[in-house]
């Protein structure tokens, strides 16, 4: 019995402490709420995103805050799970009574979280979701920051078309975001008159692509596009080399856009294209400065998730400044009207809150470095084409 | 022609390549106490497993009161009125003694509880009603297991070495119960390898060896039968038969 009492009292004390800390909070500051994936499958990206948020909060407060008030960030770990995300946004809105909301990472968690925001009629800047489906539900309060998944591969496909490539092999993971990328590739390829000659989904757990690659070898596609994350794109390239799969272009979502892609593959990464929401080298005001500061603080180059985190903050900042308050209706109106360029790129949404201002950037690993190749005006390097055959490396 | 309640014909059971039962016949007279003796490995327990439905891999025929029960599931055989105990006691360890008994009563038997209490009182175990099965001594467990099968008022009870590991006092109680119930008309089939244990009780004894019935008859006739000499080569068994 005493053990039980001990547990119970521990519980009571903790709850009390938590309630107290909320009550004592400074009422003269604006509170920004967000759920972040700190554990679960998106933990890696979630962590970077959180760093982005925090840097923005620090910077704003160093500038003296917004409308003369300091910003404070309240964040929780959603464990990369939709149902936890939904609960957390309920908590942020009704219990922590935050003034502003930033969305979670991943399309799946955003689907659940945006419903909560919609219910409370609370505008939310989504900083980590890109599936167009989110904006096809008629919600009025979800504002996208990322380039849509559906147009991710457009610049690379256009580039391929211009170089005379005709056939595409398409592979993608069977979850929301990669499927959106794949859907976009199909549409764009058809529009360009290219042919999707191989189209296969794979499961999350799948890290063995040998069979898939052997099938592809028999078809000999001009280019291979993957709707993927980091581990699967890495595994695919490694096995492509082992099985001597050749195509003139290899392009993957997410993976090649991250520094770990090169770390894990070494020289085999060279020539692989990918896409990115953002790169430190982008010719956007503030991007270089941000990445320098970020690197000084956290010891590594920021990926686009960090940039997105910072950018989401800037969008909120601009909206509040424009609305001259944190009143939900005014902020929402301001978000619809905004057309600004943040550190993360242009922000402009359509009537559903879907991002339409930000272009898709393509990167390529060239000599062990991640270079922006498309669009031309942002490029740091010319595309290296075609992919160098394995036997000649 | 005697009235046979349990008739076993040509029961054969093969494990892998080994024939554990090679066509066993058994005729149990209603209201009798029948003994089955034989050395270890002679197939006694296998026979019980087959009759009670625990082992449904045998061929042949087992008729209980004129009804074929070979291949029927044990719960059905039990509900037909044939109950058994196990060689090693199998009370339900985390059930109380009372629950152990009640679970064995017929499903809609409203008098189960009072009947169970009555049985426990008769063997002077009433103080143990709420004790968990696992907390009983081994002898007590055997007794509870025996009482358990009485809950459904079976017409035939198979006892698998009921006296093994039981102290003399409890054993006497057990035999008294058997005699009492037999007097009321219950048929018993008892496995033993110690002839003495059942010699007073049994009207008829079967001798099983290597899966075959090699002798049957009254206790005395079996003991003097040459066949049984043949199988009682092993020391201990010989002593017992000679007694």
């Amino acid at each position: 019995m005493s053990r039980f009492k001990a547990l119970l009292s521990m519980f009571v004390v903790c709850v009390a402490a938590q309630t107290l800390s909320v009550a004592l909070a400074d009422s003269k500051e604006f509170v920004v709420g967000a759920s972040v994936a700190l554990s679960g499958k998106y933990a890696r990206t979630g962590q970077e995103q959180l760093h982005g948020f925090q840097m923005w909060v620090d910077d704003v407060n160093a500038r003296g805050g917004v409308l003369g008030r300091k910003m404070r960030l309240v964040h929780y770990d959603d464990e990369s799970k939709p149902e936890v995300g939904a609960k957390l946004y309920e908590k942020l809105i009704t219990q922590d009574k935050v003034d502003l909301l930033i969305g979670p990472y991943s399309s799946a968690v955003t689907m659940a979280a945006s419903t909560v925001a919609e219910k409370h009629n609370f505008p939310m800047v989504s900083s980590g979701a890109s599936s167009a489906k989110i904006w096809e539900r008629g919600y009025k309060n979800t504002f996208g920051l990322y380039t849509l998944a559906e147009v991710y591969m457009d610049p690379i496909l256009e580039f391929a078309k211009n170089n005379g490539l005709k056939t595409v092999a398409l592979i993608y993971e069977n979850t929301a975001f990669p499927r959106s990328v794949a859907a976009g590739v199909r549409t764009k390829a058809t529009a360009l008159g290219m042919k999707v000659v191989f189209d296969e989904e794979y499961g999350k757990a799948s890290t063995d692509f040998s069979s898939m690659i052997l099938k592809m070898k028999a078809i000999k596609p001009d280019m291979v596009i993957g709707g993927s994350y980091l581990p699967d794109s890495t595994a695919f390239m490694r096995q492509a080399r082992e099985n001597r799969l050749y195509a003139k272009i290899f392009a993957f979502a997410v993976g090649p856009g991250l520094p770990d892609f090169g770390k894990n593959l070494g020289a085999d990464a060279n020539g692989v294209m990918g896409n990115t929401q953002w790169e430190p080298e982008l010719k956007i005001p503030g991007a270089g400065e941000f990445s320098k500061k970020y690197k000084a603080k956290y010891g590594h180059e920021p990926g686009y998730h960090a940039g997105g985190g910072y950018g989401a903050g800037q969008v909120l900042e601009a909206a509040v400044t424009r609305a001259l308050s944190v009143d939900r209706d005014k902020v929402r109106k301001a978000l619809y009207e905004l057309d600004i360029v943040t550190t993360f790129g242009r922000f402009k949404v359509d009537g559903t809150g879907k991002q339409i201002g930000k272009p898709a950037y393509a990167v390529e690993w060239i000599n062990g470095e991640r270079e922006i190749i498309l669009p031309k005006d942002a490029a740091t390097h010319d595309p290296v084409f075609p992919f160098q055959d394995w036997s000649k490396r | 022609m005697a009235d046979h309640i349990l008739v076993v014909r040509g029961v054969r059971r093969v494990f892998g390549g080994v024939e554990a039962l090679k066509g066993v016949d058994l005729d149990v007279v209603r209201g009798s106490v029948t003994g089955i003796i034989g050395p270890n490995g002679s197939g006694k327990t296998t026979l019980f497993q087959v009759i009670s439905g625990m082992d449904r891999g045998a061929t042949g025929s087992v008729m209980l009161d004129g009804r074929e029960i070979l291949g029927c599931r044990p719960y059905f055989v039990y509900q037909c009125g044939l109950a058994r105990t196990f060689q090693l006691s199998r009370v339900f360890p985390q059930l109380t003694v009372l629950e152990n008994l009640i679970v064995a009563a017929r499903r809609h038997d409203r008098g189960a509880r009072s009947r169970a209490l009555e049985l426990l009182e008769r063997v002077k175990l009433e103080a143990y009603n709420e004790v968990l099965g696992s907390d009983l001594s081994y002898g007590q467990q055997r007794l509870v297991e025996f009482l358990r099968v009485l809950m459904s008022d079976p017409s035939v009870i198979l006892l698998d070495e009921p006296a093994a590991g039981v102290n003399p006092t409890l054993r006497a109680t057990l035999w008294d119960m058997v005699r009492h119930l037999n007097g009321l008309g219950t048929t018993f089939v008892i496995i033993e390898h110690n002839m003495d244990v059942i010699s007073d009780l049994c009207q008829e004894v079967y001798v099983l060896s290597e899966g075959e019935v090699i002798a049957r008859g009254s206790r005395r006739s079996v003991a003097t039968n040459s066949c049984s000499r043949r199988i009682s080569g092993s020391g201990a068994a010989h002593e017992r038969f000679a007694a």
């Binding site: 019995m1 053990r3 039980f4 519980f11 903790c14 709850v15 402490a17 938590q18 929780y76 770990d77 799970k81 939709p82 149902e83 939904a86 609960k87 309920e90 908590k91 809105i93 009704t94 799946a108 689907m111 659940a112 419903t115 219910k119 599936s131 489906k133 993971e173 069977n174 979850t175 929301a176 499927r179 989904e201 499961g203 999350k204 | 625990m54 599931r73 044990p74 719960y75 039990y78 509900q79 109950a83 058994r84 199998r90 009370v91 339900f92 360890p93 985390q94 059930l95 629950e99 009640i102 679970v103 064995a104 499903r107 103080a127 143990y128 009603n129 004790v131 358990r148 099968v149 459904s152």
Partner: protein, 319 residues
């Protein structure tokens, strides 16, 4: 055991508190309680099959996921939410009968892993049937179709109460006694007239109904479902952990376990965001090692009634 009066009184108090909760609590706590009640319901469901019969299922999320999908598919067709709920339960029920026949022949680890395998098969099946389920993209429900949080809360509350009442009714019935006999020694139970196949299947079906209904409510609460969330192995484990925390095979154990684990999670997670799951692991280990009967064992002081041992009363973990 808890005395009958104490048990009923605490049940009554708990029910009253939970019934008036929406009037007092903010939406977050309501949201939290909805998930807590869901875990109570799931834990009780698991308790019905595994706690009572000892058939440890590692795959009850199968029914949970099927219920979710049934609701998510029917809701957009204009079916009222309560009918979707019933449909979720019925789908789980329809599925549980053949699955029960298939798996309940197996014992011990075979059954546990077979259920885990079925959960995976169900997940892959739903993922591959893209035309119906949208595959890995999942299904999004528009908010105007969804019942309010308060409605979800009360529905979950009713399911949790129903689940607990079912467990209580079974526990005190002849059926429950038979199930416990099966848990102790299936062969012996069969040999004293227990139709083990029928009993196990009945328990299995009952234990599938509840997750089916709970899954339907969850999807109405999150508005989004995909195969990974619907058939998450973590859900399987959570049910088990909560029951073990509270006390397996008891009526109140799962309630206590779900309440405590969810509560502690909430606290840990606020206080130690990085390490809260690790702390949960430590807690789990401690309960398994030092309190095998679960927390209910703390309340249970079985009087030593073994007459010949005249020692003082001692605690006994009660499975």
């Amino acid at each position: 055991m808890l005395s009958k009066h104490a048990s009923l009184a605490s049940a009554a108090v708990l029910v009253v508190i939970l019934a008036v909760a929406p009037a007092v609590l903010g939406e977050y706590y309501l949201s939290f309680l909805t998930q807590l009640l869901m875990m109570v319901a799931l834990a009780q469901a698991w308790n019905t099959i595994s706690g009572m019969t000892g058939y440890v299922s590692f795959g009850h999320a199968t029914f949970f996921g099927m219920g979710s999908y049934a609701a998510a598919l029917l809701l957009p067709l204009g079916v009222p939410w309560w009918a979707c709920l019933i449909a979720g339960a019925l789908v789980a029920l329809a599925l549980s009968v053949p699955l029960g026949f298939l798996t309940l022949r197996l014992r011990g680890p075979y059954f546990a892993i077979a259920m885990l395998g079925l959960n995976e098969v169900a997940r892959v099946f739903v993922t591959l049937w893209v035309d119906l389920t949208g595959g890995g993209s999942g299904i999004t429900l528009s908010p105007e179709l969804l019942p309010s949080l308060t409605t979800s809360y009360y529905t979950m509350f009713l399911i949790a109460v129903a689940a607990t009442v079912i467990v209580a009714a079974i526990y005190h019935s002849r059926f429950g006694l038979e199930l416990r006999a099966i848990r102790e020694d299936e062969g012996a139970a069969e040999m004293v007239g227990v139709n083990t196949t029928r009993d196990k299947l009945a328990a299995f079906v009952l234990s599938a109904l509840i997750p089916g209904a709970a899954g339907a409510v969850l999807v109405m609460y999150t508005s989004y479902i995909d195969p990974a969330a619907a058939f998450a192995p973590a859900v399987n484990i959570q049910m088990i952990v909560m029951v073990m925390f509270g006390g397996s095979g008891t009526v109140w154990g799962p309630v206590l376990g779900a309440g405590l684990v969810m509560g502690l999670r909430e606290v840990f997670w606020a206080e130690f965001p990085a390490a809260h799951l690790m702390l949960l692991g430590v807690l789990l280990l401690s309960v398994v090692l030092f309190l095998p009967g679960g927390l209910m064992a703390l309340f249970t002081r079985r009087k030593l009634v073994r007459p010949e041992v005249a020692a003082g009363p001692q605690e006994r973990p009660d499975g």
